[in-house]
């Protein structure tokens, strides 16, 4: 079977929806961060697939930038989570209620 653009797009869509569903359903903050990473992975697949389709290098560059930004975001997210865990002993987002009224 030949792998076409459609296959990549379907894979990316599934991955994106998996990440989105996970983000909405799961209450563990670390899992939520991982779900965001999944969504970014889906985006990267789309970029690379289209990059190949158009024969244009821009998509590849974009993917590299995505990696860097996603890593920075995860670093900051985990740092803040560690701070929260030290005080609260939990990473369940339902327990983050200091700001609710």
């Amino acid at each position: 079977m030949e792998v076409t653009l459609t296959h990549y797009l379907v894979l990316a869509t599934l991955l994106f929806l998996t990440g989105m569903t996970g983000f909405v359903v799961r209450r563990n903050a670390i899992v939520m961060l991982m779900c965001v990473e999944l969504m970014l992975c889906a985006v990267n697949i789309v970029f690379v697939a289209f990059s190949r389709l158009h024969g244009d290098g821009g998509g590849h560059v974009f993917v590299l930038m995505n990696f860097a930004v996603a890593a920075a975001e995860a670093a900051i997210g985990l740092a803040i989570l560690v701070e929260i865990f030290r005080r609260r002993r939990t990473v369940d987002v339902d327990d983050l209620k200091a700001l609710m009224e």
Partner: protein, 497 residues
Amino acid sequence: MPELGGAALWPYLIVGGGGLLVMVVDSFVRTLKKDHLSYLTMFVLIAAIAVQIAGETREGTVLHGMLVTGAYARFFNFLFAGIGVVTTIFAGGIFDRDGRHRPEVYPLLLFTVLGMMVLAAANDLMTLFLGLETMSLATYVLAGGVRGDVRSSEAGFKYLVLGGFSSAFLLMGMALLYGFAGDTGFAGISAAMTQGEPDTILVTLGMGLMLVGFGFKVALVPFHMWTPDVYDGAPAYITGFMATAVKAAGFAILLRWVVLMQPQLAFVWYPVLAVLAVLTMSVGNVVAIVQSNIKRMLAWSSIAHAGYLFLGLLALMSPARGGSDAMMRTREMGEAAGSGLLFYLIAYSVMNLAAFGVVNVLSSERGKEADDINRYAGLSRRRPVAAAVLAVALLSLAGIPPFVGFMAKFYVFAAVVRAGLVPLAIIGVINSLVSVYYYLRVIVVMYMNEPAEDSYDGTEWVSFVTAGALALLVIYLGVRPDAFHHAAEVVVRQLPF
């Protein structure tokens, strides 16, 4: 547009390099006094403004079409650097007072400003994304970085998680547009849209997903859920910064984006955006009424103001769908709505900074955030100047003449009416009337109630003077808006309608 040399990049280099410099100085200079970093940060921002005034003024692109320089970028660079200076003053004042020294705030502020400058000048999906994320990542830390404060950590985490979630949507939208155009440059995408079949599913979906991402950044209902929590949990000087600069940056790119992509947006997403604008205004104002926390109230009010600003964008889009006055050409409508929007951003920034400046000063006294509206009781007797400044800022936010908030609303709503969107303008005016109630309530508490034992107090005079100067600016711009409005018109004229 001509490709310009590297001279146009100086403001960006100064702000970015300045951020690194402040970080190094903080780490290695042991004999440093606390406020030296604040002076250095201010110096960097003022140097960037000076270079911007003295340097390259031509319209053009730099870095192989990655950034657009010219009047539009300069306008926003001035605005962001100005807000940065004011925030630095507020931050410096509070650190001096109660030992809550946070040296990392200064480099992060500079990096945020750099991200905003890049965002406002972006001419390529890559620079757009890089600018947006540079701004956002630094803001997450600014909001969530107060050590040992659970509320701040929680605010930072909520902001980061939802921000990352919305960035994923924005990126997916970009990827689909890239798939459609085969180019990441705005010019290439715009050209592909005018040539090709415009309403393919890729473009429609891509645009929609990108609007979700932008909507999150400017706190459009229903992507606004993070705003009250984040504005509440972050320290007041950071909240003021987020409410003004971050929102202005979001609208800076939205405005240029809408101008470039007008046919697409106008035909497909226009009705959705109109509904969202109405929802944003109404939800923001109605929920603000029941708040007893001034920072949450200002957060909901900032959501409502995003709705008013969005009305301006809708007016700008309307000619493309043939909805406007037949006498109005696209360019005239664009200029009227665009200049109104830019003026609104200036006005909104000045009055909001004045309000948060007062909240910040009052927060500094006990090391707690001064957020309970009831404890503003009798402020007019203890601190008459602070009460007056806050009153002016709130009246201006409510849109009462002669303050600048009135003129800003006037320009935007006038453009909306000229665009033939009279129902939207009426809803906007009704919303402004509703908002008067909750702004006035704070003023009533300050002026009519007796001061109580636990009423807030603050004495840090540098921030007082700054907030007072901003309040005078609110009045001055309200009485004489012509010069700034004219400047906004000149800036908007450079956009490619």
